[in-house]
Subunit: 334 residues, 2 copies
């Protein structure tokens, strides 16, 4: 591969001048610019991004950490991030954290040592304190799905509480009185928020909640199945189930069906996330929309604006959930 040196020789100018035309910086007459461009053309020259990074202390790459690369959720986020960043000539380096504290930290270290100009993280297991520490470091950090007050301008998150509130309220409005709640891992703040929204909706409607009908899963399908078994064995009747995410809802529905229940006539179910396959389900799942694509896009724009100094249209930090009613919910009938 040709280097800048060969280009400068062929064009009969100095290294600095070539660099100037490459970066479109400084002053260069039209004539010499043309000479240089011709030389670059002729040699098929492409700047070596690595060398540029080393010299300029800018890698033009941003590291993105997601819990998982497969699955219905994070690909969408990744997609909008890549889209936005790629259009600005920036690279995306990915890493998966696998929802494990050690692996998440490792991945972050990994990305940082790669001299990423910024990090966009959707972490799962790592603590707020760790992230704050990280944010105090040299590399700018942007967080998706977290809300840490001290770094509000770097956090993009959904109002989880409100989302569950809406979902629960919808079930109540359909006439359901005895509701069960299938929570996410309750040590996680989003799972807590979602549960809190459920409780608030119940309270606002003047309904009491039978704690027997609270059960916890790990956001995966299988745990939804197991949760349904526990709920059914608990001995308390319920006509509505609010789930902390769609995957668990799928598992729960499947288990309920196996036990001979019909959805939604015997049981109304709402999910959370509006993962794309919910509309392929039968019945299509009622759920709460989580605009992860927009959130990714906003995070990317923040990077472009705050790190690369590119002007951007307004950036949104806080997102409102939206209820999507489909066929897995129906009016209560005794």
């Amino acid at each position: 591969m040709a280097t800048i040196y060969e280009v400068s020789k062929l064009a009969g100018v100095s290294l600095a001048t070539v660099s100037r035309v490459i970066n479109n910086s400084g002053k260069v007459t039209q004539a010499t610019r043309a000479k240089v461009q011709a030389a670059m053309q002729q040699l098929g020259y492409r700047p070596n991004a690595i060398a540029q990074s080393l010299a300029s202390a800018r890698s033009n790459s941003v590291g993105v950490l997601v819990p998982e690369l497969h699955g219905p959720f994070f690909g969408i986020m990744l997609s909008s991030i890549e889209d936005e960043l790629r259009a600005a000539g920036k690279h995306v380096i990915i890493s998966a954290g696998h929802s494990d504290e050690t692996r998440e930290k490792e991945s972050i270290e990994f990305l940082a040592s790669r001299q990423c100009d910024a990090l966009i993280l959707h972490t799962f297991a790592v603590s707020n304190e760790y992230l704050l520490d990280l944010a105090r470091g040299a590399v700018p950090v942007f967080l998706i799905g977290r809300d840490i007050a001290d770094i509000a301008q770097q956090c993009f998150y959904l109002d989880n509480e409100q989302g569950s509130y809406l979902a629960t309220q919808a079930l109540i409005e359909l006439g359901h009185r005895k509701l069960a709640y299938l929570a996410g891992p309750l040590w996680k703040s989003d799972a807590q928020g979602r549960y809190a929204g459920f409780r608030r909706a119940m309270a606002d409607a003047g309904l009491s909640f039978d704690e027997q009908l609270l059960t916890e899963g790990n956001y995966q399908e299988a745990s939804g199945r197991e949760a349904m078994v526990r709920l059914l064995n608990a001995g308390s009747a319920f006509s509505g189930l609010v789930c902390a995410n769609d995957e668990m809802a799928v598992g729960a529905i499947d288990e309920a069906r196996q036990r001979g229940m019909a959805i939604p006539s015997d049981l109304s179910v709402v999910g959370f996330d509006n993962v794309f396959f919910t509309r392929y389900m039968h019945p299509a799942l009622s759920t709460v929309n989580y605009p992860v694509d927009v959130m990714g896009r906003m995070a990317a724009r923040s990077v472009l604006r705050d790190v690369y100094g590119q002007p951007q249209s307004e950036v949104q930090y806080r997102f409102e959930p939206r209820l999507v009613m489909r066929a897995s919910t129906a009016a209560f009938r005794a």
Copy 2:
């Protein structure tokens, strides 16, 4: 961030020695190694990957191109590639080609200028000739979902023809005689292969195929819906439908239902790819498994072996499809 220079000063050794302990290369006494490690520890030193790359002409990053980052298919591939590569300390740089020739080429250029040590490409629109040209270049290229004879050791692909053959055969064995085929874009070799498998199965069974019942889509759900409309309007009866992928099958099924047909009693449908949500569908879709995760893993291993010289267990290039029969297919009844 501390540099190798500061480490060498603190440890009282030369740059070269520090480099040696970092890379575990050359000879270093246990004593000096310990001194250096202590110094690195004390300074919180982390090697600058960019500088390493520039000096060693190894970026330790591999570029991966997928058609789309979202959707049910490529995340899985990406996931296994990242997994494998990450374990070996290599970075994954991603780019989406959006199934458009220009964008695919741009993305490839983009990755190449980043000095990727290797490229793993799942292209859609670019020609075999272009890829061959690319493969002749400096950066090693590995192809997923393509089979180009001249570079067989860099191609990982599924026997599409055989997959369709199996799917079609299954329908025939269930007693169906009048079959429709919903093809992918027929200018693409995989779509051709799948169609060919269908035809071969029909021929082998001594069945004639009514060309009226061939229709083409673009692998997306909406096109499946439209295709079903055309098929139904064609006026030729059929009791089985073989689809070139799952997404189109979803659309087709949905349209058929809207027209009052029941699946599978009125129409048996088989998909292709075994995308993960097919089992959430109702009825769960019968399909052909496409082991894209394993293929990604194999491509990653090839990179590790051929580019980074790491010994690897056997690598597989050609993959056999496997039929997955679920509930969208049933025995024919007149």
